[in-house]
């Protein structure tokens, strides 16, 4: 069937609504942020419209470079942990009866209803010396005395993985449910063990899904600013924490905007790079 090219304005009308949404919710706020990032900061108050690079200049230092690097590494680690945990889990879940699947998915959805604050405080309590899980380990003889597990890098990572895991599973689930079961049957008939079949057939077949999920979790984790504060030491604070500090506590909107623009550009660049590498490999 030949698709006719749109001729009149009316033919384009289905595009209006999404276009409008994109403008209102993305183009306008993002442009505002870019504009503000070039404004002149007034240390004793707010900012004045201007076109200066000082906000970006301040950001280009070893100190902020390190913080940015840490934020990116943390987000990558969260993404990898989430996918490594969620992929086998979701795969096994799709092998369960329909009813069991539904119950699991409802439970996972209910985790999404928890706010970041609740997740942060719950984990910080679980990791304390006085009331945390190490008391349980002491009770069953695994440890000599309770210790505090927070603040630490691992506490931050655990909290963030916990927060992102339901999203990861919900993104992976549709793809895994639709996976053709005959692929696996063929692998098993040819003598592959279940683990081998999973690693050599299921994982490669869903490579694009996995990459897309990694990117989604990465971007999701990059914006986290509460959990690093609650569960980490200052050296574990992400760039988002410093952006919040500037915007809320220092009312330095131009600098906060410049940092945010930088963060968005860096993450876009990384996402672009991932897609580019993926496309090249596909072409081979």
């Amino acid at each position: 069937m030949k698709r006719e090219a749109p001729k009149s304005l009316a033919d384009y009308s289905p595009l209006f609504f999404p276009g409008l949404m994109l403008i209102v919710f993305f183009v306008v706020p993002f442009s505002t942020m870019i504009a503000v990032s070039f404004f002149q900061r007034d240390p004793s108050g707010f900012y004045t419209p201007d076109f200066v690079f000082s906000n970006y200049a301040r950001f280009l230092s070893l100190f902020f470079g390190k913080v940015l690097g840490f934020s990116l590494v943390l987000a990558v680690m969260v993404a990898i942990c989430c996918v490594v945990i969620a992929f086998p889990f979701t795969y096994l879940l799709t092998k369960r009866p329909r009813k069991v699947q539904t119950i699991w998915l409802v439970c996972l959805l209910s985790v999404l209803s928890l706010s970041e604050v609740i997740i942060g405080f719950a984990w910080s309590t679980l990791f304390t010396r006085t009331a945390g899980i190490t008391n349980l380990f002491v009770a069953i003889g695994l440890m000599k005395e309770p210790v505090a597990l927070t603040p630490s890098f691992w506490a931050v990572l655990t909290g963030m993985v916990y927060q992102a895991l339901p999203y990861t599973i919900l993104v992976l689930y549709p793809a895994l449910v639709r996976l053709d079961p005959t692929l696996l049957e063929a692998a098993r008939t040819l003598g592959a063990s279940p683990v081998r079949a999973f690693m050599n057939v299921v994982v490669p077949a869903l490579r694009n899904t996995i990459v897309a999920t990694l990117i989604m979790v990465f971007v999701f984790a990059l914006g986290s600013y509460l959990l690093p504060q609650i569960l980490g030491r200052p050296s574990h604070w992400t760039l988002s924490v410093l952006i919040t500090d500037q915007a809320i506590y220092q009312s330095n909107m131009p600098f906060a905007a410049a940092m945010a623009v930088f963060l968005v550009l860096m993450s876009l660049a990384l996402v672009g790079l991932t897609l580019l590498v993926g496309r090249k490999e596909n072409a081979l």
Binding site: R41, G45, P151, R233, D245, I248, Y249, Q250, N252
Partner: protein, 362 residues
Amino acid sequence: MTKILNHPISRRAVLGAGVASASLLAMPSILKAQDKSIKIGVYGGYFKKSFDEHIFPEFTKATGIAVESVAEPTGEAWLVQLEQAAKAGQAPADVSMMSQTSMLKGQSTELWAPLDLAKIKNSSNLIEHFINKYPDGRVAGIGAVAWYITLVTNTNVFPTAPDSWAAFWDPANADKLGLLALASNSFLLEVTATTFMGGTKALDTEEGIQKALEKLAEVKPNVRLWYRDEAQFEQALKSGEIPMGQYYHDVTGLAAAEGQPVRSTFPKEGGIQDSGSWVLSRASKKTEEAHAFIDHMCQPAVQALMSRKVGTAPTVKRELTDLTAEQFAGVSSDIPPIIPRYDLYTTKADWINQKWTELIVG
């Protein structure tokens, strides 16, 4: 035409018309209520609850002006919101309680409408430094309440109370402290300067601040938590998880009164005295009501009421209030306080913030 006339009237339309006419009928009373009302911004949570319960009803009883209280966030978020709203001619609250740093920042953009002391007769009761002035002498704000940040400890972990801020530097307290995360709300530079450098005057120069920062860097290994959120530290202090730190004298006193194993100590160098001021947004149209409100709040009796019910230190002279020695000790102290160098957080804000962030994050 007939088509329109014959068109059946939907249930929704009838309901809609009903609501419209009902609200039209209700209109005059709304307008009337607005004549005598004022929106007051106070810090959300405990503050707002106590004010709603004990302070605002008294004011309404005395003046007939209804108070609609607005929960404002701490930090500078509220200042930013007020400023943005004022640019659009709006006032989310007519009168707000503002921190001193926000007070100064608001002054620089003329956000606060000048107040007329002739209409605030009770302002003569105030301690001198609680009247905030623009550089040209116009009154920008009036001291609302004061409070202290003191040295707090968990009584189970520390059977005897420390008597000096120097306890923060004691190597024996490694990984035991909870301190506020920002230079402009922890006032640790002032504490360092008072404890080791002979007073906050040492912070006049950048070299002095640099030296204070270096001294403060020695505290880092002792700090377990740099907190922004008060609840986070309060909980850890009560459980003994983080047994020492800086916290609010009044809240700690309340917790101790509830039987929690915590205590607040005024160190010999003095507690940190912070305060909030009443300010009037320039976008507000309720100037008369605002003056009446601020005047009401400056009465010694009202200040004493706040000390008893809210736990704040009075901004009026102590001898004017009828507070007993015990009540006064619950909210204040006769040891001369460390008064923060608010000017630093406006004139050198970015420089200090940068150095501070590098100090604690780096």
